[in-house]
C-alpha cells in the first residue's frame, strides 16, 4: 500500500480530496474555519478555482467554502490514496 501523502491545502489540485491534518492560523481565523469544518480529521475536497485562479472553492461537510491561497497554505491535508493518479 502506498503511503498517503501530506500536502499543503493550497498545493492540492482540483478534484483532490483528503483529511485535514493541521490548521496553523491566528486564533480568530482558525476558530472561524473550525466552524466551517476545517478541523483535523475532517474530509475536504478541492472543487474548483475562481476564474482568476484564486481563491479556491473547497467542499467540506457538504458546504462550499472559498479560501484564498494565503489562507489555504496554512492548512495541511493528508491526500486520499488514488487522489493523484
Amino acid at each position: 500500500m502506498p503511503e498517503s501523502k501530506v500536502t499543503l491545502l493550497s498545493d492540492a489540485r482540483v478534484h483532490d480530496a483528503g483529511i485535514v491534518e493541521t490548521v496553523d492560523l491566528a486564533e480568530e481565523v482558525s476558530h472561524y474555519l473550525a466552524h466551517l469544518g476545517f478541523l483535523p480529521g475532517i474530509r475536504v475536497e478541492v472543487l474548483r478555482r475562481a476564474p482568476a485562479g484564486d481563491p479556491t472553492v473547497y467542499r467540506v461537510d457538504n458546504v462550499e467554502v472559498a479560501l484564498r491561497r494565503d489562507t489555504a497554505r496554512h492548512i495541511t491535508l493528508k491526500l486520499e490514496r488514488g487522489a493523484r493518479k
Binding site: E28, Y32, P51, D54, D61, N62, V63, V65, A66, D70
Partner: protein, 635 residues
Amino acid sequence: MSCHAPVLEPIEETLQTASTASRLRTVALVGPPNSGKSTLFNRLTGMRQKVANYPGVTVEHHSGRMKSIGRGDLTLIDLPGIYSLSTYSEDARVAVEVLTGKMPGVPRPDCVLLVLDATHMNRQLMLAAPVFSIGLPTLVLLNMSDQLEARGGNIDTLALARELGHPVALISAAKGVGLEVVPDFLVQADGTLNTHLRPVQLPVLQSPSACRAWASQVTTRTGYQSPTASKWTQRLDSVLLHRVAGPLIFLAVVFAVFQVVFSIGQPLSDGLGNLLANVGTQLGHMLPDNWLRLLLRDGIWNGVSSVLVFLPQILLLFLFIGVLEDSGYLARAALIADRVMRSIGLNGKAFIPLLSAYACAVPAIMATRTIENKRERLATILIAPFMTCSARLPIYTLIIAAFVPHRLFLGGLVGLRALVMLGLYALGFLAALVTARMLNSSVMKASPAPFILELPQYRWPTLQSLAMRLYDRGKLFLKKAGTVILGVTFLIWILSVIPVHGGNFSDLPSSVIGSMGHVIEPVIRPLGFNWKIGIGLLSSIVAREVIVGTLGTLYGLDPSTHSLGLQAALRHDMTIGGAIALVVFFAFAMQCTSTLAVVRRETNSWKFPILQFTYMTTVAYVAALVTNQVLTRLF
C-alpha cells in the same frame, strides 16, 4: 422513516413535574449564519426583515410580536447568525449579549428557537452544545427540510430529540411547512420555566474540536444522512465560475441591468411623467387662480412628481438586485471580484457590504459589522458612499435622458445611454478603489485578513420575496417623496416668492433663493452650473434625490422654462459640459445626511463623517471642474 412528525416527547416528561408556571415573555431566535432565521422570523411575526441567500444579512437584533401564530403576547428576537458563543466580530457579540441577558434594554430570553440548516448537520450542530449550556428551554428547528428531501438526505428527528434532550422538528421556513410545532412548544415551554431540564451529555470543554466531535457522534448515532450536493449548483458553477465565461457573464449581467433600466424603465418613467403632468394640470384647474395654485401646482406638484417619475427605474433596479441576492449568484460575484478587492487591499468580506451600497450606503455601513478587522471595517465604511446608491439614479437618468442621444450599437444590444450610466457606476467604484488604496498605504496599514466565503446552493428566488422587496423599496421611495422631498420643495417655493412687495410675489431672480443662488454662482460657474443647479446642490445635501425635486420646482416657476418638461428645461439652460459635470459631481459627492449620521454612529466619532464629507466634496468639485473644462473645449 418519515421525518415530518414534530417530536415534542422529551419535554412532555418534564412538563408533568413543572411547578408554578411563570409567564413566558421573550423568545430568542438563534442559529448559524444563513440558516434561515430571518425568513422564519418573518413567518412567525408577519414582519418583513431583509433576507437574502448569503450569510451575515442580519447584523443587529430585531424584535417583533409573534402575531402570525396567534401569540402577540410574546416578543421574538431575531439575532445575527453565530457559529459559536465565542465572539470575534461585532455581530456575534450582539447575539451573545442578548442571549445571556447582558444587552441593555433587551430582556433576557425565556426560551430559544435554535434554527439549524438540515442539509449540513455536522457543522450546524456545533452551535447546539453552547446554546444548550445556557440552560433555557430550546426547540431545535431543522430548517430547509424541502432541500434535504429533494437531495436525498434523511434525519431521524425522534432519535435526534432523544440524543439532544430537546424537542426537534423539521421545518421549511421558506415554504412555511412544519411551523405549527412552534406554538405547541411555546405552550409547553411556558410550563417548564424555572424547572430543570433533563440533563444531556454535552462536551465539557466547548472548543470547536470538542463541539465538532460531539456533533459528529450525535449525527452518527442518529443515522443522519447528509444530502448529496445539488447537481444544479455544480452545473451552474461550472459555467458561472468558468475561467473565461465566468467574468464575461458577470460583466454581461451588470450591463444587462443598466440596459433594462433604460430600455424598459425609461418608457415607463416617461409614461408616468405624462400621467402626473396631466393630473397636475387637471388639479390646477380645480384650484383658484391665485398663490395657492402656484404653490400647489408649480411648486410642490412639479417638484415632487419630477422625483416620483423615477419609481419604475428604482423598482427595476431592485428587482435585479433581489434576483441576484436570492438566487445565490452574489456570493459567486464576490468570488470573481476577490482578485480586484485584494489588489486594493480590501478583504473579500468587504465585497458584500460594498455591493449592498449600490442600493443604499446606510445598510451597507451597518453590514460592515461582519468584518472582524477594525481597520478594514473602517476603510470599508469610508469608501462605501462612493458606491453608486439608488438615490443617484434619478439625477443620472434625468441628465442622461436629456443630454445623451439614444444610440444603439451591436445590433441594438448595447445602448449609449446604458454605457454612460455604466461609466458613472465605474467612476464611483474607481473612486472607492483609489481611496481604499490611499487608506491602505497610510493610516489603515493592516495585516491582510483572510477571505473566507461560503457559497450557498443556488435557489429560485421566490415571487413572494421579490414582491416584498419591491413593495418595501417602493414604499420607502414614496415615503421619502412625501416627506423630505415635499418639505424641501415647499421651502424652495417659499424662498423663491419672498420677499412679497405690495401683495405681489418676487419674480425668481429677485427672490431670496435667487439672491442666494447668485451669491454661490461664482463658486460653481467654473463647473458649468448655473445658480439653479447651485440651489439644487445645496438642497441635495439632505438627500441626493432632492436635487431633482428642487430643479422641478425652480424650472416650473421660471417663466422662460415654465411650459417645458424638466428635461427640455435643462437642455435649454445647460451645456453638455455642465450636464456631464453635474453627474460626475454626484458620482463623488457625499450628499446624504443619513449616511453621515450612520457613519457617526458606527465609528462613534464626528471625526470620520466630517473628514468623509470634506474629502468627497473636494473630489467631486475638482472632478466636475475638470469634466466641464475638458468637455467645453471638446464640444
